[in-house]
């Protein structure tokens, strides 16, 4: 029998199948929908994460005062109980110009920028809000930052009472949008807005001015130092080198007494990626179980279907159908159950992941877009469809084989 005819007969069985077959198909729809949405959501989240981490810059190391357990010297967690010596790190000795100079001379270091940061009261059109203020070294800021300008310009060395504002701050913090070249007041001092960034909530101003605006910031001290490196591949080695040199220049002999920490974004990225991958794998495994249940449902339906169709199989054999024709018809039939389920699953999955993406971005008010975008790639959709077809055929293989081996006389006698 020609493949086309077998296909037609298999389709005929499917469209005339009873409620049971459609319930089986619903099982596959749910399984595939779960797989499609989970994969698309986790891929989307991963992509978002990578984009965001990418915008932080894998090539920028940050030196902060105080010791952070999670990113201490030599990276990783410190083992064992904290002794009294380590408490000294909590004193948070600020970073100094001397530290900046030390870092500037290291290998693999391209730019070094000390910065100060803190909270300040900002007033615009008689409305006041607390904002985060960062004083940046205007000579290197544009080289070191990954922030993009939406309008205006970055700070330059001739700027004094000039600020660059984050995009979201401009749009949402005050009732009225702050225009470029508009005037704002921070801690009683008047500033001109010379640039607006594409995103962010921060206020950026020249370092020296920030020192006069922010409280608790001493002369020649920095809240943190950003270090742009040339080769990200050797970031870990550079972190080690920075730690070594700073310990030396700050007169620290024991690792336990380290009073600064160096964060390495590429290491953080790897950890976060690993975490999201593990999460995707875990959720995918749950979805796979639902698919397995669906596949068992197909096998069950096919066994019953073959039993129901026994007489028809006998008739087909009596009028000349070969074993392989019967095998192919039932194999195609079970493949179709899988495929129809797969198609339905993809539609439901696309709908579901879009809905979750929408909720994700709505509920977080645009703040966190972790689940705000989904990645529905053609590879995922085609893969899901092929997978459902294969699952259907595997589940139907034994029932189809049994059908093909039926003795025509026995099958004809079956009531």
């Amino acid at each position: 029998m020609k493949l086309k005819k077998c296909f037609n007969l298999a389709w005929n069985i499917l469209i005339h199948s009873k409620l049971r077959s459609w319930l089986t198909i619903i099982g596959i729809i749910i399984g595939i929908a779960a797989v499609v949405s989970i994969i698309s959501i986790s891929q989307g989240a991963q992509q978002q994460l990578e984009d965001r981490l990418g915008s932080l810059g894998a090539d920028i190391l940050t030196v902060s005062p105080g010791f952070s357990k999670a990113s201490g010297p030599m990276g990783g967690f410190r083992e064992g109980p904290m002794d009294s010596d380590s408490d000294s790190s909590d004193e948070q000795k600020n970073l100094t110009v001397k530290d900046v100079l030390v870092l500037k001379n290291l290998d693999n270091v391209k730019y070094v920028m000390g910065q100060v940061s803190g909270k300040g009261e900002m007033t615009y059109l008689s409305k006041t809000a607390s904002v985060s203020v960062t004083g940046v070294d205007e000579s290197v800021w544009k080289d070191i930052t990954y922030d993009e300008l939406a309008s205006g310009r970055f700070l330059v060395q001739s700027d004094f009472f000039s600020v660059v504002l984050g995009g979201r701050l401009v749009e949402t913090t005050f009732e009225n949008k702050i225009p470029l070249n508009g005037k704002i007041t921070i801690e009683g001092k008047s500033f001109k807005v010379v640039g607006i960034l594409a995103d962010g909530n921060g206020v950026y101003m020249p370092l020296d001015i920030a020192r006069t605006v922010l409280e608790d910031v001493g002369e020649e001290e920095f809240s943190s130092i950003s270090v742009k490196i040339e080769d990200v591949e050797i970031a870990n080695e550079t972190v080690g080198l920075i730690e070594k040199k700073l310990m030396f220049s700050r007169g620290i002999l024991n690792e336990k007494n380290v009073d600064f920490s160096v964060s390495n974004p590429s290491e953080m990225q790897a950890t976060i990626q690993e975490t999201t991958q593990t999460m995707s794998l875990f959720l995918g495994a749950i979805a796979a179980i639902s698919l397995l249940v669906g596949a068992i449902g197909i096998a069950n339906t096919m066994f019953t279907s073959v039993l129901e169709k026994t007489k028809e199989i006998g008739i087909m054999k009596a009028i000349g159908a070969k074993n392989k024709d019967v095998l192919l018809i039932f194999l195609l039939n079970s493949g179709m159950i899988g495929l129809v389920g797969g198609l339905g699953g993809i539609i439901l999955g696309v709908f579901g992941s879009t809905l979750i993406g929408y909720w994700g971005s709505t509920l977080s008010g645009g703040e966190s877009r972790m689940f705000g975008s989904t990645a529905l790639t053609p590879e995922l959709l085609i893969g899901a469809l092929l997978f459902s077809l294969i699952i259907g055929m595997i589940a139907g293989a034994i029932p189809a084989y049994r059908a093909s081996k039926l003795n025509p006389v026995d099958a004809l006698r079956y009531q």
Binding site: M1, K2, K317, A318, G320, A321, K322, L412
Partner: protein, 225 residues
Amino acid sequence: MKNDIIRIENVWKKYDMGSVEPLVVLKEINLTIKRGEFVAITGPSGSGKSTMVNIVGALDKPSWGSVYLDDENISKMSESSLAFLRGKTIGFIFQQFNLLPNLSALENVMLPMEIIDQDEKKSRETAEKLLTKLGLGDRINHKPNELSGGQQQRVAIARSLANDPEVIIADEPTGNLDSKTGKFIMDFLGELNSNGKTVILITHDLDLVKYAKRIVYIKDGRIEK
């Protein structure tokens, strides 16, 4: 062309019944059917006539002995060759009509032709011609459940003729029909025989036996002389 179309030599058929004695349904059957013959195989219920015809029709294999169709020993053939033989050389008409319920009359008749890979267009033409000849020209798109018993049996006859087989095996073809429709069917079988087809009729109805040119009587699995 040889004159004998079917030759059965010393055929036995027994069914293993597990713990009890095997059931011997056919015993030492020897029968020759000539090309173009109209043979009625009759006998009481359970005498083994259907089993014998299933073996002749390549639906079943004997436990012992040989069955020759056109001098070819079909009891030794593979399942796939037997399937081809059933499709091409033998046409079955059953008491229960045995049409595929989800296919239309036309599709049911086309199926044996499509099974042996005949062109779809040609199959459609042949099926339409056969159905029209059997008075079902206006019913070709009806499903079996939309047809009367007599109409269904006529569709089954059209299907049995689809591949223009040499042998027609009719197993109690009028068993489920009223006498008028039964007579139409028997007359049609007679006409087929007049046109050269070999017809094997299985019946226990002595009124139908008269259509045949030869009667073979089976009792307790043996042919009675």
